[in-house]
């Protein structure tokens, strides 16, 4: 079965609320059928606005959104057949769990026994069988969340939108719900558009992530690519932890460039620099820099330990390295032989491939 790779399509979409500021700028985004795509970004980056335009609660100022090749800008929300899970669940407080789930079926004039069957199925999918007659207020946050998910799925929509659905849950519950939602997605193969500002959530759940900032998609790629190969310094900064050096390119070849820092020089991977004299920000993931590396690495520096923080499974070490006093290292706690004391000088090495020379900040 060939999947429609343009199942949902944002085509040159602009959105402005006040006619002065564009909240979403020239958005082009294709979502394939059955995909789990996450819109990730800081608040005010336009990701929720995109979701609301897709749901039909906002209209694009310019451009068009297509659902299964049909333009939907002029279709009211209730005719779009898109399921939605809201930030605060938006369960109807005066209806039981059963009535909440039956609502989308009843308005579609589904037969009573058919409704019973579907509600049953949806509730067992979120492992809440037997909760039919409870009121939403009698449920815990996690249970309410699951009811909201079940309600958004019970009428077999083609697309389900989730607007920061786990934001109100505590950390442990949030993690287990992440897996649960992921499994539901895998089992029924529905297209999910998920909005969050939590990068951990985005990385664990999605097929692809669209990183939003300033009304634009900064990068759209799979979680591992996003983390390992950020295309600009915003993405590098926003996803995961990140050590940066600001400098100027002094020499450049195909795979490697020389970057002159304030006090020193490093080799880096030229991602978005093209010629000598370009200003750049070099980004290195903390786990890519090693202490006393055994293998040969093309960047070798010495830093002074400024701070050591014990984190259970690993220890974070903050160094003063090449004038960057915020250089972070993550040391697994299995390597005990290291002498991590404040003020000690240690050797640090990394490959130029992992030091990405991106656009200047």
């Amino acid at each position: 079965m060939s999947k429609n790779t343009e199942f949902v399509k944002f085509d040159k979409v602009d959105k402005s609320y006040d006619g002065k500021v564009l909240v979403v700028k020239d958005l082009n985004l294709n979502i394939s059928e059955g995909e789990f795509i996450t819109m990730l970004g800081p608040s005010g980056s336009g990701k929720t606005t995109c979701l609301m335009m897709l749901a039909g609660f906002e209209t694009p100022t310019n451009g068009e959104i297509y659902l299964d090749s049909n333009p939907i800008s002029n279709i009211p929300p209730h005719k779009r057949g898109i399921g939605m899970v809201f930030q605060n669940y938006a369960l109807f407080p005066h209806m039981t769990v059963y009535e909440n789930l039956a609502f989308p079926l009843r308005v579609r004039k589904v037969q009573k026994d058919e409704i019973d069957k579907k509600v049953d199925k949806a509730l067992s999918m979120v492992s809440l069988s037997g909760f039919e007659s409870r009121m939403p207020a009698q449920l815990s946050g996690g249970q309410q969340q699951r009811v909201a998910v079940a309600r958004a799925l019970v009428f077999d929509p083609a697309v389900v939108l989730m607007d920061e659905p786990l934001g109100a849950l505590d950390k442990n519950l949030r993690e287990s719900m992440q897996y649960e939602i992921k499994h539901i997605h895998e089992n029924i193969g529905v297209t999910v558009v998920y909005v969050t500002h939590d990068q951990g959530e985005a990385l664990t759940m999605s097929n692809r992530i669209a990183v939003f900032n300033d009304g634009k998609v900064q990068q759209l790629s799979s979680p591992d690519k996003l983390y390992e190969e950020p295309v600009n310094s915003f993405v590098a900064e926003f996803i995961g932890e990140n050590n940066t050096f600001g400098g100027e390119v002094t020499d450049i070849s195909k795979d490697v460039c020389k970057v002159k820092l304030q006090n020193g020089e490093i080799l880096a991977n030229p991602v978005s620099v093209t010629s000598k004299g370009d200003k750049t920000t070099v980004s290195i993931r903390p786990e890519r820099a090693l202490i006393n590396p055994k293998d040969k690495m093309d960047n070798n520096q010495t830093g002074k330990i400024e701070e050591v923080i014990y984190h259970g499974d690993h220890t974070r070490v903050r160094l003063d390295l090449l004038g960057n006093k915020e250089f972070i290292l993550k040391v697994p706690n299995s390597s005990n032989e290291l002498d991590l004391k404040l003020g000690n000088e240690i050797k640090v090495g990394w490959n130029s491939q992992d030091a990405r020379a991106l656009d200047p900040k």
């Binding site: 749901a55 039909g56 609660f57 009211p76 929300p77 209730h78 005719k79 779009r80 057949g81 898109i82 399921g83 939605m84 809201f86 930030q87 605060n88 938006a90 369960l91 109807f92 407080p93 005066h94 609502f103 989308p104 308005v107 579609r108 309600r151 958004a152 009428f155 939108l161």
Partner: protein, 420 residues
Amino acid sequence: MSSETKQILTTDGIPLEISLKKAERKNKIKAFLLVAPLLLFLIITYIFPIGEMFTRSIDDKMITNMLPKTFKSMETWDGKELPSEEVFASFLSDFKILVEKKEHGKLAQRLNKEKNGFNTITKKLFRQVKRNKIDETQSIKEQIMKVHKRWRNVEYWQAIKRTAPPYTSAKYLKAMDMYLNEDNKITQVSEDRRIHRILWLRTVEVAFFVTVFCFLMGYPIAHLLATLPMKYSNLLMICVLLPFWTSLLVRTASWMILLQQQGVVNDFFVLIGLVSDDNRPEMMYNKVGTYVAMTQILLPFMVLPLYSVMKTISPSLMRAGKSLGGTPFVAFWKVYFPLTIPGIGAGCLLVFILAIGYYITPALVGGASGTLISNQIAYHMKTTLDWSFASAMGLMLLGGVLVIYWLYNKLVGVDNIKLG
């Protein structure tokens, strides 16, 4: 906790419950002292006057105290034929005392209310007594009967006996256009004299429709208030509250200016050709005026509870309703509307209760067909000075409100009321 469970002791060996009570007693006393002034105030200004109103409305002790001996001797009288010599004698002795105290006029007035005709015959008897014409060595019965033929009529003696009990329901019956007839049966007054029942019905009708109008107008306003952005909703809120800051009289007077036949509204109708100049509709001194003015004045009482409830309803609920496939109407009717019921209940109850006792506005713009029961109460308070009748009607109004409250509690549940 069952009594078998072991008693829990504090570290000092005192049972926990006792210790807890001791610790809380101080707080309880403090709390009571804090509310005590208010409680006292309520008792003095509310409970006591209502009790006073009640006793006044059923009080009939005046005549009981005027004719103590008469009523005593009447106890054995069967009330079918003229009473015995003894009754006449005690009546005369009571009457003489009243004449001395110059209270025989009051007696005549009171008896005349019971049965027409007592005024004349009491006056005649008074003259006889004053001139010492009655010889107490002779049969007093014969002598009194000679004073006027009505004293020979058993119906008048029956009327006296009817006034014997110190309490009477007559005022309440009168408020319902009924009275106790000679045989102690509840009878309706003749049709042309039934005014109170019309007033009661009209009061309920006006209160009901004012509530309906307030609801129809207040619901959209409250919704707008709850959904508009802050800067507009504040302005709108001021418009809603403006009537509160204006004197009731001023507001009613401005309605008079607007609604009268040569008023602004009529002028406008004539201007746009809706009505001809010599055929201006009467919009005041009738029910229309009462409806318009009362609806405007009571509108905030509907809007505010509705607003406070609507403010708490998350806009995402309506969106959820729509995204799940409900048309805007279905989403409103199935999701939004049921959630506003506590506000509707509170608003309607408030407006209805206020409307049912409304006084100034109907008095000013109501005219003859727009006055309500409260105007009647005021009339008896100020003009006829029949305070016990006014009290009786006031209490009936209060009783009616309590019944509505009880009904509301049965149907919606008072816990669901949300006033703010």
